[in-house]
């Protein structure tokens, strides 16, 4: 059962990491223009 002492904090840390990342994506405005992001990959770059 000692493995639990390691696994539980680990799983919680991973969950918190995911939550933190989601908060960061929200704050950095990544959901402001979802349609635009989907369409931008279709823009042809200028030939170099």
């Amino acid at each position: 059962m000692t493995i639990l002492g390691f696994m539980i904090p680990l799983s919680l840390a991973m969950g918190l990491f995911g939550l933190g990342t989601f908060f960061w994506t929200m704050r950095s405005g990544q959901y402001e223009d979802m349609d635009g992001a989907a369409n931008r990959i279709l823009i042809d770059e200028d030939p170099l």
């Binding site: 799983s11 939550l19 929200m26 402001e32 349609d35 635009g36 369409n39 931008r40 823009i43």
Partner: protein, 731 residues
């Protein structure tokens, strides 16, 4: 300047010579549709000297440009026009205030989701049978996760419940808050005393499901509002003011002062009341009064804010601005009219009025019952809590928003932007329609009466000329020609001669679109009031007459509304003769020459005898009626004021969205009632179990998620309701 000044942006491209301070300007560009447009605008603007960076937001149909302060917004609008996009200055979005609220809900939802998943991990282990020591430890960890999560994610509910209780009312949030707080407190007690059942998972799961409903609701509102905000702003929010020495600068409407001279171009709307000092033109007053016939205006005539200049550029001396204009009276009427609307009680809150006391009584009775049966305080309290949790309106909380969000999404795809769920509820109750004429039954823009006299070559040339101008007649002509599938001819050397028309060359010959009283190369001598242009091709002049035509599907829409039991009538501010023609054609009862106050009074008379009127209108003169009606719709071409007062805005040429909206709203309420029935049935099954003391956290979790999924699944059926009549409008 309407440019929003933000903290300095680091220029993406070093400006030539020295580093000039940059400012950010925002423009709404309704024409952005695809990746090609994004590329074209961003690359095109980057080449303009002085522009540091341009960023397109496709969802909001906006462009943010960071540019040197020497560059003004008009130059940028011109540049965008050269790229092929009509642009407007974007003002601060008056409807975007609750963006922050949506973000708060999303964060609360994310935290609740995190908590729910982690606690469930421990709960599943507990349910599958652990020894007392491990169970105790898992309960402790669940408590450590659950309590902060409940405190954070529960705030929206606690705050709303507290507000309701403070005003001695009750809403859905009161039973939710009591249930969550009791469950958490009870579970904490269980944990401290090493008990068997902790409901942290139930409490957090409840919050998660309810937050999901709230968040969807808020996102639906946000999307509709940003869609409407993109339509706003064609009305005069400012004007080009002529300064000393003839230089012009842009001045916002609220900074205009009496005595200033505005230069009003063709197609622009006036930002303030004033007196024409120079030039002759035709003024479209339909937004302000509902009159469909344009009025001539020459030096000395008074013109009002909110009217549109259809003819030539004129100079207007401001006599009254902002608060003193003719619009201000309308605004006052609207404020008063809007108050009756706020008395409407939403269906969820009406349900809560019955539900909350019932649930609390039931929980209290089971507590008393078990006490009398000699079970002891602890056991009686556990059971009472279980009753509260199992009856906690998880499905009830989702029953309304889930159905409304799905319906609003389906309507949005059909070109109808619903501002909130209460609009759908009121729309379903409507039993009468009152329609404005100009701009609502009609398109609201001059369109050619017929194009039959034009041959294919003439049509192509006409489009080639018309599409190069922003004049309302040119725009109407270009729109009608494009609708017929005409491809524009290549017209060279196109130039717009202000006040006379468009001139160019095609295949070596001179072609022109001219005002009827202008001779090729000559000057205007009389003032034309009739709306018409002459097309000059190969030496022949063809007159194209314009009128504000009816929307293409008015008759079908009125028939559909009648089929739904909604008789229609016209309430117009236009002259009796103009209204009579339309009324006879459509077979409707009509009232003409109504002032804004008259329309509102008519609505109040109908409401007094028990009718629930759906008002459809576009003009400033409809504003008070839109605000005062039981429910109201406005077309996308409506004045800003009307779009903000209306419950929903429909875009496009067709009127059919009005009938579809009523149909979908009724289907939505049907689904809401089914959802309520399911939630009640679930309670009828689950509550006896809870009262008997058979509900464990496992049963609670299963029942909760099961009933929620059932309700959401039922609501999803609505996605098809809006498309059921064939999707025949070519979208």
């Amino acid at each position: 300047m309407n440019a929003i000044t933000l903290p300095p942006v680091v220029p993406a491209k070093a400006s030539p010579a020295e580093t000039v301070p940059t400012i950010d300007s925002r423009f709404t560009v309704p024409g952005i549709r695809c990746a090609g447009c994004i590329g074209k605008i961003e690359r095109g603007l980057a080449l303009v000297p002085g522009v540091a960076a341009a960023r397109v937001n496709l969802s909001a149909k906006r462009v943010a440009v960071s540019h040197a302060d020497t560059l003004d917004a008009d130059t940028l609008i011109d540049e965008l026009r050269k790229l092929g996009f009509e642009a407007e200055r974007a003002a601060d979005n008056p409807l975007a205030r609750d963006d922050a609220e949506t973000k708060r809900l999303i964060r609360a939802l994310a935290v609740a989701g995190f908590g729910m998943m982690n606690i469930m991990l421990f709960s599943v282990s507990v349910w599958s049978g652990t020894d007392a020591v491990t169970r105790g430890m898992f309960h402790w960890i669940s408590a450590l996760i659950g309590i902060p999560v409940v405190l954070y994610s529960g705030r929206p509910f606690f705050a709303s419940a507290w507000m309701a209780l403070k005003y001695r009312r009750t809403n859905m949030d009161v039973p939710i808050s009591i249930g969550v707080i009791l469950a958490t407190g009870m579970s904490l007690y269980e944990t401290l005393t090493g008990g068997e059942h902790a409901y942290f998972d139930g409490a957090v799961m409840l919050l998660f499901f309810l937050l999901a409903g709230r968040t969807l609701d808020a996102m639906m509102r946000g999307r509709a509002r940003s869609g409407i905000a993109a339509l706003l702003g064609r009305m005069g929010r400012g004007a080009q003011v002529v300064g000393e020495g003839g230089a012009t600068r842009y001045v916002e409407a609220d900074k205009l002062r009496p005595g200033m001279t505005m230069l009003v171009a063709a197609g622009e709307s006036l930002a303030a009341d004033g007196e024409v000092v120079d030039g002759r033109t035709t003024i479209d007053t339909s937004m302000l009064t509902g009159e469909s016939d344009p009025r001539p205006a020459a030096a000395g005539d008074l013109v009002h804010a909110g009217t549109i200049n259809l003819g030539n550029p004129v100079r207007v001396r401001v006599t009254a601005a902002a608060q003193d204009t003719a619009i201000a009276d309308i605004a006052r009427l609207m404020d008063e009219a809007g108050q009756s609307r706020s008395r409407y009680v939403r269906v969820a809150d009406r349900a809560a009025r019955l539900y909350a006391p019932a649930v609390h009584t039931l929980a209290f009775l089971s507590f008393c019952g078990w006490m009398l049966a000699g079970a002891g305080v602890y056991k009686a309290l556990t059971i009472a809590t279980a009753v509260l949790i199992i009856t906690c309106p998880c499905a009830l909380g989702l029953a309304v928003p889930a159905a409304q969000v799905v319906a609003a999404g389906a309507l949005m795809r059909r070109g109808l932007l619903i501002k909130d769920g209460s609009a759908l509820e009121r729309l379903a109750e409507a039993d009468e329609v009152l329609l404005d004429k100009t701009g609502t039954l009609t398109v609201g823009e001059p369109r050619p009466i017929t194009l039959a006299m034009l041959g294919p070559r003439s049509r192509a040339i006409a489009l080639g000329l018309a599409q190069a101008s922003r004049h309302p007649l040119s725009r109407g002509l270009a729109h009608a020609l494009r609708a017929e599938g005409v491809e524009p001819a290549t017209v060279e050397l196109v130039r717009e001669a202000a006040g006379s028309g468009m001139v160019g060359r095609c295949d070596g010959a001179e072609v022109a679109l001219l005002r009827p009283d202008v001779h090729a190369g000559g000057r205007a001598d009389t003032l034309a009031v009739d709306l018409a242009v002459d097309l000059l091709v190969d030496g022949t002049r063809t007159r194209i007459a314009f009128a504000d035509s009816l929307r293409p599907d008015v008759a079908e829409t009125l028939a559909a509304l009648k089929g739904q039991g909604l008789p229609a009538a016209i309430a117009s501010g236009d002259r009796a003769e103009a209204v009579a023609g339309v009324a006879r054609q459509l077979g409707l009862f009509a009232t003409a020459a109504m002032r804004p106050g008259d329309k509102l009074a008519l609505l109040e008379r109908r409401a007094a005898i028990g009718h629930k009127v759906l008002m459809v209108g576009d003009g400033l003169n409809d504003g008070p009626a839109l605000a005062g009606a039981h429910v109201s719709l406005a077309p996308g071409g409506a004045s800003d004021v009307s779009q903000q007062a209306a419950d929903a805005v429909f875009v496009g040429e067709r009127l059919m969205p009005v009938a579809i909206a009523v149909k979908v709203a009724r289907a939505t309420m049907r689904v809401v009632r089914q959802n309520f029935t399911m939630a009640v049935l679930y309670n009828v099954l689950a509550v006896p179990l809870a009262i008997m003391g058979h509900v464990t956290p496992l049963v609670a979790a299963l029942a909760m998620s099961g009933s929620s999924l059932l309700v959401v699944g039922n609501s999803l059926r609505l996605a098809r309701a809006a498309g059921a009549d064939g999707g025949k409008d070519g979208k």
